[in-house]
Subunit: 327 residues, 2 copies
């Protein structure tokens, strides 16, 4: 999470679209000392954005990611503009968070390209549209890349970098370096796939969780605990393959596969494929009930404090001596 | 992780089988102030067990789970016996960790039942054999229950409690209370299924991870990062269903399903079903290489320090004010 590659940082980022994701990127960029030029056509967008920055700033302070800025200084480094074209003036990086509609995104790119120098990278936060589709018809398609964060991007380290067919290798390398300089953990996809990677992995575990609940094996609450009180503790430290590699002891992955490969294949064969039909939806909704506003706010605050503890633990891991398991 | 239900604790636990899992249970029981009577036919078993206790004790000290005992006092509270029958003398709880072979486990149960009072619970750590199968032919099958830990049980909170067809409700309730009194997070399965729950969820996520690596979407290392730098941070706090419920905002799970249900079904339909064939195994082995002993030791120590940080964060979450997301 340390910001050692500051030479890779742009000075001015344009943030197009300031809903939940765009607002969180804004906080991240402000915390790294950048100027941010934002634009969003929604009524009251600037007030919402500045309120989000104010709310999130204490997290950035606790993580030491403010570039020495006070909240006031951060708000001053943020300007909000009436159009995409105006926000793009002088930007040397763009993070686009427009609605997930191809026509809207293409219109945004046309506006951006009418203003930006040809070497300015446009990263899209899209989770649902392939970069090869996004970049069709652009003047400089080689500068378009997906930089898909895991919400909220000002806190969660992961960014999935997905080049389209026309994206240049220089763009990929520059955006990887830029996200690293922002303290993020970017990964590089070598092929475009539906859902990128993290959402597919989330979908995979939730599919089995829903199946087990639907089959009456345990309550939704207990299945959640089977993650958070069990393998979830390890997954905040390293990924599933490294966990199994270390479980193989000095024999590594080879020993693990010999010893537990057959059991894993047995479990794979038995996993379920539920659908979100009416009964399944009803079961899930009933498991949680209708949120009570006061309890919901408490739960979200509790979750966010817990997440800060994990990010601080992650920071401590990275400053720990010895080999990094994830490396 | 606090031990508030001390009235539910047995005074003397028998630990049958002291390999990795049995040794870790031994540490947990010693850290809760129990007497432990252990037995394992392997040559050198006592020396290995005592070395494991010595090694693990500092973790228990850091977590405050020593019941005021020094390591010396813990070693004195542990006795190692030549037979199952001898270890069972005076035990008021048994945790069985014999090899995953039905004939061996049935022989162990016969030995235990020749000594134990009829109301003493026998919990099996089995991951692969159904409790209904284990309890066939027992004198008191109602006392047999699966208490499957997530390795290592002295650190990871989860214990999966699985009753067989003949297990009494009193046994289930007593063993749930006992594990809670030990500071664990037990969950109750209402049906026996292959792999219980946590291993199935691990298998589900790893299946997609292996598929994506096999398809060349990203490196094994980057797919691991897509977990540990992304959703893994949240999974150490709460399970996947609660995450989605909170993501639904004040509309809760119902709003989440309306908004993201279609995307999840699209991803579910696209998830892969790889096999651990020769090429896949080679890919996985090559991703990690043959472990170097010095680096392996460093990596394991790093992992274990990182896990302690997560358990301390989990403890802080539970003492945090406000609603518990997992509750």
């Amino acid at each position: 999470m340390s910001m050692t590659h500051t030479t890779e940082l742009p000075r001015t980022a344009a943030v197009i679209g300031t809903g939940t994701i765009g607002a969180s990127w804004t906080v991240l960029f402000l915390g790294a000392g950048l100027q941010v030029r934002a634009s969003d056509p929604a009524p009251g967008a600037e007030a919402h954005l500045r309120a989000f920055v104010a709310e999130a700033w204490s997290s950035m302070e606790q993580l030491g990611h403010t570039a020495g800025r006070t909240l006031d200084a951060a708000q001053q480094a943020l300007t909000v503009h009436a159009s995409v074209e105006e926000a793009a003036q002088g930007a040397d990086f763009v993070q686009e968070n427009a609605p997930e509609r191809l026509d809207i995104k293409r219109q945004v790119y046309a506006g951006l390209e009418s203003v930006l120098g040809s070497d300015v990278i446009i990263a899209s936060s899209t989770s649902g549209i392939m970069p090869s589709t996004l970049q069709e018809g652009m003047q400089h398609p080689e500068r378009l890349v997906v930089g898909h964060p895991f919400n909220p991007p000002h806190l969660i380290p992961l960014v999935e970098v997905v080049p389209g067919k026309q994206t240049s290798e220089a763009t990929v390398q520059a955006v990887l370096a830029l996200y690293r300089a922002l303290g993020k953990t970017p990964i590089r996809l070598r092929r475009e796939v539906v859902g990128h990677i993290a959402n597919r992995l989330q979908a995979a575990i939730w599919r089995e969780a829903v199946y087990l609940a639907r089959e009456g094996v345990a309550s939704v609450e207990d299945i959640d605990l089977a993650v958070s009180a069990g393998p979830g503790q390890r997954w905040s430290i390293m990924g599933p393959s490294m966990i199994f590699n270390l479980a193989g002891g000095l024999g590594g992955m080879e020993h693990f596969l010999e010893h537990l490969g057959p059991a894993l294949e047995t479990w794979w064969a038995d996993l379920g494929s539920p659908h979100l039909d009416a009964d399944t939806r009803r079961m899930l909704v009933e498991a949680f009930g209708t949120p009570d506003p006061a309890r919901f706010t408490q739960a979200v605050e509790h979750r966010d404090r817990a997440l800060l503890r994990r990010l601080q633990a992650l920071d401590a891991d990275q400053h720990d001596t010895g080999a990094t398991p994830a490396a």
